[in-house]
């Protein structure tokens, strides 16, 4: 029996709003009422600043020293609390436009987003931006928390007007699950218990909503196992290990391995290290196939009847994270599921202006920019639109020099077969170098076997990578050193081919 039920009981939440909307106070209130703030922490808060003789709940989420000095939340902070019904993981991010990338990060794994507005000010430009981001990241549940209702004397008419305006926003038209709750974080109205001061509101408190939301959105039901790593037992039997990102598998299921397109059946399944008959989405599993097949990190195991079209060209929304603007010629490292390749940003269709909330033409991308772009990858990638299957449609771009994560991407569509040339040369391990190879193709470099220390191999590895990126194919004569290099390069998303004499 599989242990992960359809409705698992961890809910990941993110909050969108700014300090002025009382966001820190709301989080503090939730944690306080869930008894997640302990005595010594309360004591520390009491030593700090007091509001109306009570502790300042907004200080609970206060994080790093450097941030406290600046009086602003910069980064994403994670908080944990539980109710008798479930465990909550709260990713708290700042709401200002200059921290868009942090909000995107926090929303990336959220099951639910709480968008906070100040009842006195209603829907602001910021609220619209938050609604857009929550939509972009496809957060399954949206909760509009209308805060500070004590400051407008619990005025029902005002609150209904805010709700209507929010529901009309274009980003909320597709929202599968939209909830609205009027509350006062300061006074505790409708946060964990229903308030007597809002007798006209018959809905649940914020915590009640959070307790009852389903934590997994309905997603693709077709099984998909992106292979993370190959394991071997003591008899040498190989297992493909990874997290089942969709659907379910049973022993005996016929499967196809991508990209090789070989077929086999599932001989055994391990979940939690134990043999089982069935595995479902969300579980970290290992499976053995009935036949010896080509399996490696980055392979996908799908049901045998799957029609999967890999593509080198993708249209995607990109959120730029880095201080440095994007470089049009750069071949960034792309990570999509467990697949790795190189990718270039070919065109910017438009940038979404986060202030006017309208598309505009640009030729550059800077930190916090969100744009629709076309990406060309060095090899074909298996993917799905992000809105259909998050884990198959999300990617990150990594700077190949600094190794910083420079962008996050969400695939809109694949652009089918492309007529671009392959950007990357081939890495081939050969038994013997032959003059014929050299003659047949230009742009091949041959490397005879040579004994080298690990440290020298590492620097050689970097040079080889640059050559491959520049389109040179490399033939390495087989030796422990060249195999080490091939292994190291495969970790960097570069595939190795093998051929011997006369093949």
């Amino acid at each position: 029996m599989s242990q992960l039920a359809e409705q698992a009981s961890v809910l990941r939440i993110t909050t969108a709003g700014s300090v002025d909307d009382g966001k820190s106070t709301l989080i503090g209130r939730l944690l306080f009422e869930a008894k997640a703030i302990l005595d010594d922490q309360l004591e520390a808060l009491q030593k700090a600043r007091l509001i109306d003789g009570g502790i300042d709940l907004s200080l609970v989420t206060d994080g790093l020293k450097s941030e406290r000095e600046q009086g602003i939340t910069i980064d994403v902070a994670y908080k944990y609390f539980s109710s008798p019904k479930r465990k909550f993981i709260l990713a708290d991010a700042p709401g200002h436009v200059q921290y868009t990338r942090n909000m995107v990060t926090a929303a990336s794994r959220a099951d639910a987003a709480i968008i906070l507005v100040d009842a006195r000010h209603g829907i602001l430009e910021q609220t619209r931006r938050h609604a857009y981001l929550v939509h972009l990241l496809q957060v399954p549940h949206v909760i509009l928390a209308i805060n500070k209702i004590d400051a407008i004397d619990y005025d029902q008419g005002r609150i209904v007007a805010i709700e209507q305006e929010f529901r009309r926003l274009e980003w909320n038209q597709e929202a599968r699950s939209l909830h609205v709750v009027p509350l006062s974080a300061l006074r505790g109205d409708n946060v964990s218990t229903r308030s007597e001061r809002t007798h006209w509101y018959s809905g649940p408190s914020l915590l009640e909503i959070l307790e009852t939301l389903p934590s997994h959105s309905p997603q693709d039901t077709q099984a998909e196992l992106p292979v993370q790593i190959i394991l071997r037992d003591s008899h040498g039997q190989r297992y493909a290990a990874g997290t089942l990102t969709a659907g379910s598998y049973q022993v005996g299921d016929a499967v196809r391995i991508l990209p090789s397109r070989q077929e086999s059946t599932i001989a055994s399944i391990l979940v939690q290290g134990k043999s089982t008959q069935k595995a479902v989405a969300g579980e970290a599993i290992a499976i053995a196939l009935a036949d010896e097949r080509d399996l490696e990190r980055g392979s996908l195991i799908v049901p045998v009847n799957t029609i999967a079209a890999p593509s080198q060209d993708l249209r995607a929304h990109l959120v730029w994270f880095d201080n440095d603007p994007f470089r049009p010629q750069e071949r960034y490292i792309i990570r999509l599921g467990t697949q790795t390749a190189r990718a270039q940003i070919k065109t910017i269709a438009y940038r979404f202006n986060l202030e006017t909330l309208r598309p505009e033409n640009v030729s550059e991308l800077h930190m916090n920019d969100i744009a629709l772009v076309d990406v060309h990858s060095s090899r074909s990638l298996y993917q799905k639109p992000f809105r259909q299957h998050k884990r198959a449609g999300a990617f990150v771009l990594i700077d190949p020099r600094s190794y910083r994560t420079v962008a996050a991407g969400m695939i809109e569509s694949s652009l089918g077969d492309s007529d671009h040339e392959d950007l990357q040369g081939r890495l081939v391990l050969v038994d013997h170098l032959t003059a014929a190879d050299q003659l047949e193709h230009d742009r091949i470099l041959q490397f005879p076997a040579i004994a080298l220390k690990t440290s020298r191999l590492r620097s050689l590895q970097q040079s080889l990578e640059l050559l491959l990126e520049s389109g040179w194919s490399l033939h390495l004569e087989k030796s422990p050193e060249s195999e080490f290099l091939a292994k190291a390069l495969s970790r960097r998303g570069i595939q190795t081919f093998e051929h011997g004499l006369g093949i």
Partner: protein, 304 residues
């Protein structure tokens, strides 16, 4: 109100996330290692790592940073565990500093931790060219940890730069490091103390016996119970020394770890006690309080 103690289904969700992280380390690095501290979080980490690679073996060694001030039971437990699971165990001490008589009494806890823990850790990571060190730290432990990434980048000097962390989205971890740099990886980031105990009970995971209450010699100073575990400790002659039924909630070095009054002699009792308790786990760890934001400062220097 805390979670219903009988609902353990959610633990498998946390487990799956952790296993994915541990496998990602094995797939991405040349020389990964588990930083094994012998405590309860390390015990959970080991169990998760075993599950991650079953039916294969643990593909990396355990590293224990030994300050020489750990509890006797921790040493014997450590050796037993390594034998039982057939793992390679690397024990590292900053011998130079120990030879020079480094101790918390004469140089203070801050300097002592810096030499016997942080410096020792950096030494061993260099010595074995470790490019990824897996640790059992959790975000709920301390507030500088609340903002740390699961894959937490360290520069050539082992330092953490909280203002310049790599964004971490979805489950797409950026594992890349240049030679000389390394990654600290925290598969238990999203677990709480309560989750850890629930999982230990659910999975029947062995833990160091000093987590359980018994009569032990302590010196009561204000709110804290200073353990006098060594039979030859001269402080046992102190008029304030007495036998108190107590246990340890968080394990560090003997001089810097306080005991708590407790009757909890088994896992059920510990979990019940956690339900009722109103103070945080690391309240008994002197080193977290030696100056404001002290954990953050230690981490910047290379501490876990």
């Amino acid at each position: 109100m805390p979670l219903n103690p009988r609902d353990q289904r959610y633990l498998y969700e946390l487990e799956a996330e952790s296993i994915e992280i541990i496998r990602e380390v094995a797939a991405s690095y040349e020389r990964p290692a588990i930083l094994y501290s012998v405590g309860k979080d390390s015990s959970v980490l080991l169990r998760l790592a075993q599950k991650a690679f079953a039916p294969g073996r643990l593909p990396f060694p355990l590293i224990h940073i030994d300050t020489g001030y750990k509890f006797r039971e921790m040493y014997s437990f450590r050796d037993q565990v390594a034998r039982d699971i057939g793992a390679e165990l690397i024990v590292h001490r900053n011998e130079d500093a120990i030879a020079k008589g480094t101790n918390p009494y004469s140089i203070g806890t801050k300097a002592c931790c810096g030499l016997l823990k942080t410096e020792a850790l950096l030494q061993v990571l260099r010595k074995y060219e470790v490019d990824a060190a897996i640790g059992g730290a959790r975000r709920d432990e301390e507030r500088s940890r609340a903002k740390e990434r699961i894959f937490s980048f360290r520069d050539k000097h082992g330092q953490w730069d909280p203002k310049n962390q790599r964004p971490e989205l979805w489950q797409l971890y950026n594992s890349r490091v240049h030679p000389g740099e390394n990654m600290r990886v925290f598969p238990l980031s999203n677990w709480t103390e309560f989750d850890v105990w629930q999982y230990i009970r659910l999975e029947n995971i062995p833990i160091v016996p000093i987590y359980f209450a018994r009569e032990r010699w302590v010196l009561e100073k204000g709110k804290s119970l200073i353990p006098l575990e060594d039979d030859n400790d001269p402080r046992r002659q102190d008029p304030d020394a007495k036998l108190v039924r107590s246990r340890f909630r968080s394990l560090g070095c003997m001089p810097c770890t306080g005991a708590i009054r407790s009757e909890a002699q088994d896992l059920d009792a510990i979990i019940d006690e956690l339900f009722a308790t109103r103070s945080s786990e690391r309240a008994t760890r002197v080193i977290d309080h030696d100056q404001d934001a002290s954990m953050e400062l230690k981490k910047r220097e290379g501490y876990f």
